[in-house]
């Protein structure tokens, strides 16, 4: 990740439409973007597509970004919204809606701090779509239940419920599969 000063310069260059600088920005934030998108979408291909769409949106609207603000939170919002849009779109047409709680599948038995990205993704796949999304939005990305309710078009109370269920399911998974046992 570039330091703040060089990031400001990089963004200023991107505002001029310099493709090389945009490429530099892309490569510096590629991991960050992919990490967020993959949490929501669950697989690399979809995540890359959503991340790239987000970068394109950023390049197109970077002139509206004020360098005095922090770039990462702004970019994070773009990534999260794009991921949700992507998910919504694909769900709309694939109609592969998961609604029921799934039975936890086995995960690699290891300590939590040793969990790899793949382990976590496998673990999260045991949650249903809504639980996983609410968990990501609330616990990882720091949105409030009110914001989540607006984003997902659900009542605030439902957001709380989904979060509780997600946590319970994860706890059960951790316990059942002795992930927490060192």
């Amino acid at each position: 990740m570039p330091d703040n000063e060089s990031l400001v310069e990089l963004i200023a260059s991107c505002k001029k439409g310099d493709l090389r600088q945009q490429e530099l920005l892309y490569k510096q934030f590629y991991g960050y973007a992919l990490g967020i998108c993959i949490r929501y979408l669950g697989n690399r291909d979809d995540a890359l597509e959503a991340a790239n769409d987000s970068f394109i949106k950023v390049f197109k609207s970077i002139n509206s970004f004020n360098e005095e603000n922090d770039f990462k939170p702004w970019f994070r919002k773009v990534l999260v919204n794009t991921s949700l849009d992507y998910k919504r779109r694909s769900m709309r047409f694939s109609e592969a809606i998961e609604l029921t709680d799934t039975i936890p599948q086995s995960t690699h038995t290891s300590a939590i701090d040793k969990l790899s990205a793949q382990d976590i993704l496998a673990l999260m796949k045991n949650l249903n779509e809504m639980q996983r999304t609410v968990f990501n939005l609330y616990e990882i990305d720091g949105y409030s239940h009110k914001e989540i309710g607006s984003m997902l078009n659900i009542p605030e109370s439902s957001s709380r419920t989904y979060l509780t269920r997600a946590k319970q399911a994860l706890q059960q998974l951790l316990t059942t599969h002795s992930i927490y046992k060192r």
Partner: protein, 454 residues
């Protein structure tokens, strides 16, 4: 001590904070396929309007030039011989001011005997003695009538010949006798602005009579050519109004209308190319069975609109099911038809035409109604949602439909009334929402001067 849950959250944050799979290069290559966007095929409306206007202006100029040429030819063709060699007071300022000579032609290398040796007496009377009186602007005030000597050089002859070939304003230099002192004047005032040719044309010397004879021939030839040209290049204009039905699979046919202007350029006896511009309205509506590409386009635009914003209310989420209820689209478009008309019969009382139509859009309005069942809300009770999108002066679809038509001509004096039933099958989509609209209808065309031209 941290709970397992807190520990998991921290681990997730840590792992995914910078999830670099080392394929950034490939990711960038993927992104470059979509960015920067290539020049859109959808041209701006002003560009399109400009093209249409230019085509019409060009057609108009072509049309008017044809008539102008005819007028010139008529005048040239009917010029009496006397005017070519005017009597005493022929105005010098006239375009076709003839060479005015004195009794002796004083050309370089010019010997009257050589030139007139074969002429009979009557010809001599016309040409020689060549004593004419001329008036010139420069001499009007002091000596309105002057006797001038024309210097007829080889180059002058060549230049004069050029007049017959179309350059009508070359200067003729004369020597005017004023108090026994010759001075050069430009006989043709208009010609002074035209640079005279400097090169000397090596041509056999011609007597005035020979020159005139040759001139007459050339003039006659040019009349024939121009007449042929003008008769071959016939352009007419149509104004038309059309009533038609739009339809699509599962779409109830909608009655719409349009108006426009066409230019018809005759290519051969039986073939006419027609192009123009018109405004028409296209409507589609679907109940329940909204085509997938249409609803997809509606959702895509919706997601693009919202993606940049912070959490926006009213979004459908993944754990929802949507059902299409209805879709209505209205497009006010500029149509740019380009067709070839074939007249199979000698009478040319009907034609068959085929071509393509391109469209740009003055306004587009789409209304999409769908029901949304969110399983996290009211136990999945369906909620009706309406999404409306409007845009103006946006988009250009090249060759989005083919045109197949039959025209039946009905003469009204010099003009023609044409009944033209047509069918326009969709070749491509229309507008922002990928509507494939075919249409069939009847154009009523009024063709100016078409009866004379065709």
């Amino acid at each position: 001590m941290k709970t397992s849950e807190e520990e998991l959250v921290e681990q997730i944050k840590s792992v995914f904070e910078d999830y670099d799979d080392g394929l950034g290069e490939q990711g960038w290559a993927d992104l470059r396929k979509k960015y920067p966007e290539k020049e859109s095929k959808k041209l701006p409306i002003w560009w399109l309007t400009g093209v249409a206007a230019t085509l019409l202006v060009v057609a108009g100029l072509y049309f008017s030039n044809a008539f102008d040429t005819e007028k010139v030819i008529l005048r040239a063709g009917t010029t009496p011989k006397e005017n070519v060699m005017p009597q005493n007071s022929s105005p010098v300022s006239e375009e076709h001011t003839p060479v005015i000579t004195s009794d002796t032609i004083k050309a370089d290398n010019y010997t009257p005997k050589q030139n007139h040796q074969d002429k009979d007496v009557s010809q001599e009377k016309v040409i020689n003695p060549q004593k004419y009186l001329a008036q010139d602007n420069s001499t009007k005030e002091t000596t309105p009538i002057k006797e001038i000597n024309v210097i007829t050089t080889n180059s002058e002859i060549a230049r004069t010949k050029a007049v017959t070939a179309g350059e009508q304003n070359n200067p003729l230099i004369a020597i005017i006798k004023t108090d026994d002192k010759a001075e050069k004047v430009i006989a043709n005032a208009r010609a002074t602005t035209t640079a005279p040719p400097t090169e000397k044309t090596v041509k056999p010397k011609l007597s005035t009579e020979e020159f005139l004879r040759e001139e007459s021939k050339l003039m006659a030839n040019s009349v024939t050519k121009e007449t042929k040209k003008s008769s071959a290049s016939k352009t007419t204009l149509d104004i038309f109004t059309g009533t038609f039905f739009n339809y699509h699979d599962d779409n109830e046919a909608k009655l719409s209308a349009g108006v426009g202007l066409n230019a018809n350029v005759k290519v051969t006896k039986n073939l006419v190319i027609s192009f123009g511009a018109g405004i028409s309205q296209n409507k589609v509506s679907y109940e329940n069975k909204v085509p997938a590409e249409v609803s997809q386009a509606m959702f895509a635009s919706k997601s693009n609109t919202n993606a940049m914003s912070a959490p926006v209310a009213g979004l459908a989420y993944s754990a929802t099911a949507t059902n299409d209820l209805s879709f209505n689209g209205k497009l006010l478009s500029i149509d740019l038809p380009m067709v070839v008309k074939f007249f199979p019969s000698k009478k040319q009382d009907f034609y068959i035409s085929t071509g393509i139509n391109s469209s740009s859009y003055l306004t587009q309005k789409y209304t999409y109604n769908y029901s949304l069942s969110n399983f996290g809300y009211r136990n999945g009770e369906a909620q009706t949602q309406t999404q409306t999108e409007e845009s103006s002066l946006k988009g250009f679809d090249f060759a989005n439909s083919a045109i197949i038509a039959i025209g039946i001509n009905q003469s009204i004096g010099k003009n023609v009334l044409i009944f033209e039933p047509y069918y326009k099958p969709a070749l491509n989509t229309m507008g922002d929402k990928n509507l494939r609209i075919s249409s069939a209808g009847l154009n009523l065309k009024f063709n100016f001067n078409g009866n004379n031209k065709k």
